[in-house]
């Protein structure tokens, strides 16, 4: 019971970290960013490549992964995504999917297709109400809550965050104030990509690292964004943790069905609250 709860919160936290970047680009530009999945995969692989050089210091690996991802996401934003602002959404989907394909194939080229297991970097566990709970999971939950608080401060207290929130609600109005919204959105794009890489890095010790890991988690993250409501950051937060719990509870009874259950929940949500965009 406790372990299911912890597991649900862990997955929910990871889903939150990944989905928030998607939610921002999806809500602001209506661009479905498949490249997000590629960034996620890249983060995990960079970690694996960097670990031997950092004397297997996991937390230095996280920093390296995020630093490497920043220029990659900047290039994707500048050359692919920015050229698609205001274009037909279908082209944006196809183009970012193409980036995902290229990224996945590059990863396969460099690191091969076989999954790479990664051990728990902390390795300790605490006994909590007579249940063994790995410390690493607690760290993930703490990190996701910290990011949640950090983003709250970012969007409420800083001017960049305020501009982005205003841009999400009414892009034209912000532009008419003489603010170049696109530039702020590209900052947010890079920020979201860093979070995706962080999510990939944090999640990789729990699962295995393989080239298609981004594709699966991306689909679940899209379900999170759709269930939470487009461009609603609060909705994304709630739905990430709720769907994380759904995955954990389903996984307790029948492991392989966990992913499918998320989509079933999404379909039920869509029946009762259809998206009319």
């Amino acid at each position: 019971m406790i372990s299911t709860l912890i597991y649900g919160l862990t997955i929910g936290g990871i889903l939150y970290i990944i989905s928030i970047g998607l939610s921002l680009t999806f809500g602001s530009m209506r661009i479905v960013n498949f490249a997000h999945g590629m960034i996620y995969t890249t983060g995990a692989y960079i970690l694996i490549a960097a670990l031997p050089f950092l004397r297997h210091n996991f937390f230095a690996g996280i920093v390296v992964a995020i630093l490497v991802v920043i220029p990659i996401s900047f290039i994707i934003e500048k050359f692919i995504v920015r050229r698609l602002y205001g274009e037909s959404i279908d082209y944006a989907i196809i183009a970012t999917y193409a980036v995902l394909l290229i990224g996945v194939d590059l990863v396969k080229w460099i690191w091969g297709t076989s999954p790479i297991p990664l051990s728990d970097p902390v390795g300790k566990s605490v006994t909590f109400l007579s249940v063994q709970v790995p410390v690493y999971r607690l760290i993930i939950i703490a990190v996701s809550l910290a990011i949640c608080a950090g983003l709250w401060v970012f969007f409420k207290k800083t001017i960049i965050g305020k501009i982005v929130i205003a841009g999400l609600q009414d892009r034209e109005a912000v532009r008419s104030l003489g603010i170049s919204v696109d530039r702020y959105f590209s900052i947010v794009f890079v920020l979201g990509s860093c979070l995706a890489a962080l999510g990939g890095v944090l999640y990789s010790p729990i699962t295995t690292v393989h080239p298609y890991m981004g594709f699966h988690i991306l689909l679940i993250s899209f379900a999170v964004v759709i269930v939470g409501g487009l461009g609603s950051l609060k909705g994304t937060t709630i739905s990430a943790f709720a769907l994380g719990m759904v995955m954990a509870i389903t996984g307790r009874f029948w492991g392989p069905a966990a992913e499918a259950m998320v989509f079933a929940v999404m379909a039920i949500m869509l029946i009762f609250k259809p998206i009319e965009v």
């Binding site: 196809i94 499918a260 379909a267 965009v277």
Partner: protein
């Protein structure tokens, strides 16, 4: 009088049928019959997909689900009930229509990105159902290998006969879609693509039309899936694999979305690339990715769209 008959023939789709049939027969005799049958089946799939994408403007990222449901419906019928291939095709079409009919109301209310993603999510669920949940009856990862009975009138277990049958199916689908898209209903579809609010304003219940189109598109895709099952003699989870959706999107784009010729040309071109060029391309997915980027940024009209615009310029300067 003569010109009138010719124009009517062209508008009714007769000319297209003859051109497509001739093209595939020439290609089939020049290369391998079995492989060309594969090309024809894929073209049917692209036609089904393009009805939704090119004509109604809804990009589905999960059309492999319908392809796969047709394939599995046909496969399961043959394995557990009757080995008759025609009944298998019928079961495939019904299976696809059923899945499309159930999922349609959820999917068609969304547009753009959400529509694409909802379909992709359904596809993922379908993949899971075929691979894990019903593994006992679908054979899981190994799939089902099937043997079909030979029927007296038309023995489609023979490759040449099956080639002819598949070509007939393609021409039939082409003809039906030609009639459908040039009818008032087809014009309404394009209206929905361009401006759905206006179509609603005129007084059409667009929801019903979108659902109907969704079901037709899924049935045609399922038809292609059932044919593919017949052609290969097996069905396995790669028939529903969500990562293969990009193939049909690529085909629709390279041919030129929104025209029936474009869909057939696209299906054919994609199969030529993947069957003949893939041998020389070591990184296939990367190639697909870069090709898609080029298509999106530089070559949106596709092959057929470019042919049309060049031809139009020719005739305009000629006059």
């Amino acid at each position: 009088m003569g010109k009138d008959v010719k124009a009517r023939f062209r508008d009714s789709g007769g000319l297209g049928v003859i051109l497509i049939a001739l093209g595939f027969i020439i290609f089939g005799t020049a290369t391998s019959i079995h492989r060309t049958t594969d090309f024809i089946i894929f073209s049917i799939f692209v036609l089904g997909f393009d009805l939704l994408y090119g004509h109604m403007g809804r990009l589905s990222f999960g059309h492999m689900l319908f392809f796969g449901s047709g394939a599995y419906a046909a496969g399961l019928l043959v394995r557990y009930a009757t080995p008759n291939p025609f009944l298998a095709i019928l079961a495939g079409i019904c299976g696809g229509a059923l899945v499309g009919g159930i999922l349609g109301p959820v999917a068609v209310r969304a547009t753009g990105a959400c529509f694409a993603l909802i379909n992709l999510a359904f596809n993922q669920v379908g993949y899971f159902l075929a691979l894990v949940a019903f593994a006992k009856s679908t054979g899981g990862e190994d799939g089902l290998s099937l043997t079909f009975s030979s029927t007296p009138l038309l023995d489609i277990t023979r490759p040449k006969v099956f080639f002819g049958f598949a070509l007939f199916c393609l021409c039939l689908i082409y003809y039906l879609l030609k009639r459908l898209t040039s009818s008032p209903y087809g014009i309404l579809l394009r209206t929905i693509r361009e401006n759905e609010t206006r179509a609603q304003f005129i007084g059409y219940n667009t929801y019903r039309y979108k659902w109907f189109t969704f079901v037709i598109s899924s049935s045609i895709s399922a038809f292609a899936g059932a044919l593919a099952t017949l052609n290969y003699g097996y069905v396995n989870p790669s028939f529903v694999d969500p990562t293969r959706n990009v193939e049909v999107i690529f085909a629709a784009l390279i041919g030129g979305a929104g025209s029936l010729y474009g869909a057939v040309i696209g299906g054919f071109s994609y199969m030529v690339i993947s069957n003949y060029l893939a041998r020389y391309i070591p990184r296939w997915e990367m190639f697909l990715g870069f090709a898609l980027l080029i298509l999106v940024f530089k070559f949106r009209e596709g092959i057929w769209g470019n042919v049309i615009s060049v031809w139009k310029r020719r005739t305009q300067t000629g006059e």
